[in-house]
């Protein structure tokens, strides 16, 4: 459903963010996008969702296709309307708004009220804690709860393709597991998921397919199983512990 | 989406069309205005501008105050602001600041006067064209000084310096450079400065006159009327108040409530309430037009309906409305429709001929700008007659100028000379608001020069 070919992204007209990245995501699957810091994972997501402009970056060559139509120059809002939702890196919830209003924001692109109501109930089903505290200011939620809200908010646009950027970042292992299970649940309802993670073990445990970005291009790809068993993967990312990431750029 | 786009475009187009229409509405009177820029076009101008012909010194200028008692001297030598052919006058006015509301019409009035002199008299002495150079002070001393410096070497004198702070700032430089300046404001203190050439009745006298008139002649009230005052916080307000307090003392009434206001004030609820509570039946308004209008609207709101007694700066016909019924004002100028005053007939005719083609109507500020130049003109004639347009020559001419005839445009003629010899005008005309008497919406009630004025010392 999503196909990225030979994508090159340049930051501030000088720094190369991506240099010929290739990727494809099949409908209904979970695809993991792995890689070290600065490998270009987030850049790729930004390119897909049209947010490069916010980072002084642009696509210089290559193509992004969603269901056969080119996404390269489409505005972010239009991309969401075409069925691409995302939970951004760093969650980026609206701390000053209530949980309910955060979800409302997520549902802005949906016109049908009943459908919106239904989605919201679904989100509250997935994350009961959000339902309980729906009138609270979102800024006061814990890190894990904020992540849940970020995912819930992304779901509000009823996406066919859900992009998740490091949902496990900085969370306790227990919560990571919880989130992983939710992702699997979401996928079961038919939503395709592109999961960006440093925590390769977590990601590959639910993914069907995986890509490893190195220096702005795909260094390694294959089915989740292949990757799990790959030696270099073992050495680099699956050292048995959850990779801890420190400063993000 | 497209519908919205159309709607928005249409509205923007409305705006654009409207702006364009406004700009081009000036074109309607195009034919009249276009040739004002060509001075030689005026057909019956006898004295050509090109020559420095010595023969023609006895001009036919109407404003020749001191009839030829002095032997005509030779042609004046070139001097700063005078190249032998053209006399340049400096104007320090507010073109883009808070007082642009006054500065722009004042300068326009002056320009009309000089357009007339250049076109119909062939210039000063029948041969020297006059050019105006304006500097924008923004009513700020700092800019005023800068503009003064820019204009001073290219001006024979400063024919108008608007508003008190710039005048105060520039005064020291005028003294140092011995350049004559005409203050656009009418504070009486200016009469004591050798380099300044004030004209019109000082604010102090205006207030004394209107108080005297109100108490003794108006039939509207007397010494027992509860009288109050609102004055603006600046030198104008201060000297006006000084004159009024003097008059109150002499006439034997109290100023029951005294309030002050600032320029740019937008709310007068408390002021009006205080005046109302004090039971004021008459309020002297030493104020400025927009604020005065706002204050009177608030008074109407609170049902406070006194007699208002104002001075020149507190009234602007453009801002006066139905709630001005009981507004009386002391002014120098005659009624705009009074054809018995020859100067006024001339003014209206010249205004019609030389006004900018924006369709402006004459009002007190255009008029002030116009008539103030009569004295400047007389001074220049005198200096030309004495054959010296240098700074010293003009300063000298002022000491010898004597009385300047204004053809009835001022209530009284100013007598110039060294500061100690000057006899400032002190008479005023009293007007009442009258919507049926356009363009200035005022009808003259009285012309008086209070006896109290003699006992009042200006700048005391």
């Amino acid at each position: 459903m999503l196909r990225v070919s030979d994508l090159e992204v340049v930051y501030s007209a000088a720094v190369l963010g991506l240099r010929g990245a290739e990727l494809s995501v099949a409908r209904g699957s979970i695809v993991a996008l792995l890689g070290a810091n600065g490998a270009g994972k987030t850049t790729l997501l930004r390119a897909i969702t049209g947010l490069l402009g916010y980072h002084n970056a642009r696509i210089t060559s290559g193509q992004i296709e969603l269901n056969g139509s080119v996404l390269n120059d489409v505005a972010p809002a239009a991309i969401v309307r075409r069925g691409v939702g995302q939970a951004m890196e760093g969650r980026r919830i609206f701390g000053e708004l209530s949980i309910e209003d955060n979800l409302k924001v997520g549902g802005v692109s949906v016109k049908d009220r009943a459908a919106k109501q239904q989605t919201r109930d679904y989100v509250f089903d997935l994350f009961p804690v959000l339902g309980e505290r729906r009138r609270q200011q979102a800024g006061y939620l814990s890190g894990g709860e904020q992540q849940m809200l970020a995912i819930g908010r992304a779901l509000m646009s009823q996406p066919d393709l859900l992009l998740l950027d490091e949902p496990s970042l900085g969370l306790a292992p227990l919560i990571v597991t919880q989130i992983r299970d939710v992702i699997a649940d979401i996928n079961k309802t038919g939503t395709t998921v592109l999961l960006v993670e440093q925590n390769a073990a977590m990601a590959l445990s639910i993914a069907d397919h995986g890509y490893v970005l190195e220096n702005g291009r795909v260094g390694l790809s294959g089915s989740a199983r292949q990757l799990r068993e790959d030696d270099s993967m073992q050495a680099l990312y699956l050292g048995g512990t959850i990779a801890v990431s420190e400063n993000r750029s | 989406m497209t519908k919205k786009l159309w709607l928005v475009s249409a509205l923007l187009l409305t705006f654009a069309l409207f702006a364009a229409a406004c700009g081009s509405s000036d074109d309607s009177g195009d034919s009249a205005g276009s040739d004002t820029t060509e001075p030689t076009d005026g057909s019956d101008t006898t004295a050509p501008t090109d020559g420095t012909e010595p023969a023609d010194s006895g001009s036919d200028a109407t404003v020749a105050p001191d009839d030829g008692s002095v032997e005509p001297a030779g042609d004046p030598e070139p001097a700063p602001g005078f190249d032998g052919e053209t006399i340049k006058l400096g104007y320090l006015t507010d073109e883009s600041g808070p007082l642009a509301i006054l500065g722009v019409p004042l300068t326009t009035g002056s320009q009309i006067y000089w357009d007339y002199v250049n076109e119909e008299l062939g210039g000063v002495g029948g041969r020297y064209q006059v050019e105006l150079a304006t500097g924008d002070t923004k009513d700020d001393p700092s800019s005023a000084v800068q503009e003064y410096q820019r204009l001073k070497d290219d001006s024979v004198l400063f024919a108008q310096i608007l508003s008190t702070p710039p005048t105060q700032a520039v005064l020291e430089f005028l003294k140092e450079d011995n350049i004559v300046g005409v203050p656009g404001s009418l504070a009486g203190t200016w009469a004591n400065e050798a380099v300044l050439m004030p004209n019109g009745a000082a604010y102090e006298y205006e207030m004394i006159n209107i108080a005297d008139w109100f108490v003794n002649d108006s039939g509207l009230g007397g010494v027992d009327t509860v009288q109050c005052v609102v004055s603006v916080n600046d030198l104008y307000g201060e000297v006006g108040l000084d004159g009024l307090e003097y008059a109150a003392g002499e006439l034997g009434f109290e100023l029951t409530e005294k309030r002050t206001m600032n320029r740019n004030d937008t709310d007068f609820a408390a002021t009006v309430s205080a005046l109302d509570q004090a039971g004021c039946e008459a309020v002297y308004a030493i104020t400025v037009p927009r604020e005065q209008s706002t204050m009177m609207a608030e008074a109407a709101t609170q049902g406070f309906d006194p007699i208002w007694l104002g001075a020149l700066p507190s009234y602007l016909s453009l801002l006066a409305g139905p709630n001005f019924e009981k507004f009386y004002v002391a002014l120098d100028n005659p009624d705009f429709n009074d054809t018995s005053v020859p100067g006024m007939v001339d003014f209206l005719e010249r205004f019609e001929t030389y006004k900018p083609d924006s369709g402006a109507e004459p009002n007190s500020f255009f008029f002030s700008g116009y008539y103030q130049q009569i004295a400047v003109h007389a001074l220049l004639e005198k200096a030309v007659e004495l054959g010296d347009l240098s700074r010293e020559g003009i300063a000298n001419a002022m000491t010898q100028l004597g009385e300047v005839e204004t053809d009835g445009l001022t209530a009284e003629n100013y007598v110039y000379g060294a500061p100690e010899d000057r006899i400032p005008t002190s008479a005023s005309r009293i007007f009442v608001y009258d919507p049926d008497n356009p363009p200035n919406l005022l009808t003259e009630l009285a012309l008086l020069d209070s006896e109290l004025n003699d006992g009042y010392e200006l700048g005391g």
Partner: protein, 379 residues
Amino acid sequence: MTDDLRLLRSAGARIGAALAVAAVVVTPLLISSDFWMSVFIAAGVFALGGLGLNLLTGYTGQASLGQAAFVLIGAYTAAWFGADKGWPMLLWMAAAMLAAGLVGAAIGPFALRFKGNYLVVVSIALVFVTVHVLQNWDSFSGGFNGKSVGGISLSFLVDFGDLSIFGKQFTPEQGLFYLTWIVVGLATLAVANIIRTRPGRALQAIRDRDVAAEVIGIRVARNKVIVFALSGAMAGLAGGLDAARVGFLTPGVAESQLLLSIRYVAVIVVGGVGTVVGAIVGALFLGPLPELVEEFSDKINFTVPLVDQPLLKDSATSEGIMSNAVFSEILFSILLVVFLMFQPRGLVGLWHRMVASLKRRGTPTDDAGPDIEPVATPH
């Protein structure tokens, strides 16, 4: 690193400094007009106040529209001590700096509490309150009627009010020109020193991330207060010099003082926010602008199509779309917007870019990239 701390890093900078000094020395020898001297003194005053503002806004990231308040405070203090009390020049200068600096220090703590937008409004409040106090404190300021600054001393070692060097007699304006630009030069050195050394880096750390600066051990509170004081002091001195130029002070109305503050901000924006010489460049560019428009109005003028009228009015009654004064105000507003939109690094940034592209073309191996100071990101 040690090289980095040196004041004049490159040969280019040294040549530039020498040229600037030469320009200051030579200008009064070439120009005798009181007018142009007055214009350049005023530009110097803008430069001085702008240097202070740049330290505050450009380097420390504290947004302020309050610079006019400090200028006013300095001007009145100078007038009070210099003209009324007859203190010698250095003393009234010190007093003007101290008074404005102290008020700045008093504002500093507010800046700790308020950020960004709020700080802007607090700085506007300062202008309103200062104007109000000056309007009413008659015994000190002369109130609404203003105050004469006649007889203020301009003498230190030499009398700048009556300057005579090698038998050449200078006008008071020329003398004040030298004085003003000497002060601007010294202030520039001071600012350059501050920002090239440790305290300056601390300031920039504050600008870039308040909380992070605290974490790495910069005492944000103390540094902010110091910067407000310094910035205020420089504006105060600027006010004192302007008082000497104008010779008369009025508090005016708050709105027009606010416009003055805006002019100070515009000076650094057009010159180059967060660059040492930005304020000077901006002041030399914007300061004389209205005067240049007046001087060259007939050259600028043209007939505007559609309405078929000249752009500028020749005289009050001639036709034309706007007066010179309105034109220069419009020009000013457009310049401000255009610089913010297209050249946020100001003229200095533009210059660096030109130099860099020239270098690149000439000697491709030259590694010296554009020597651009960090652009301010006040938040």
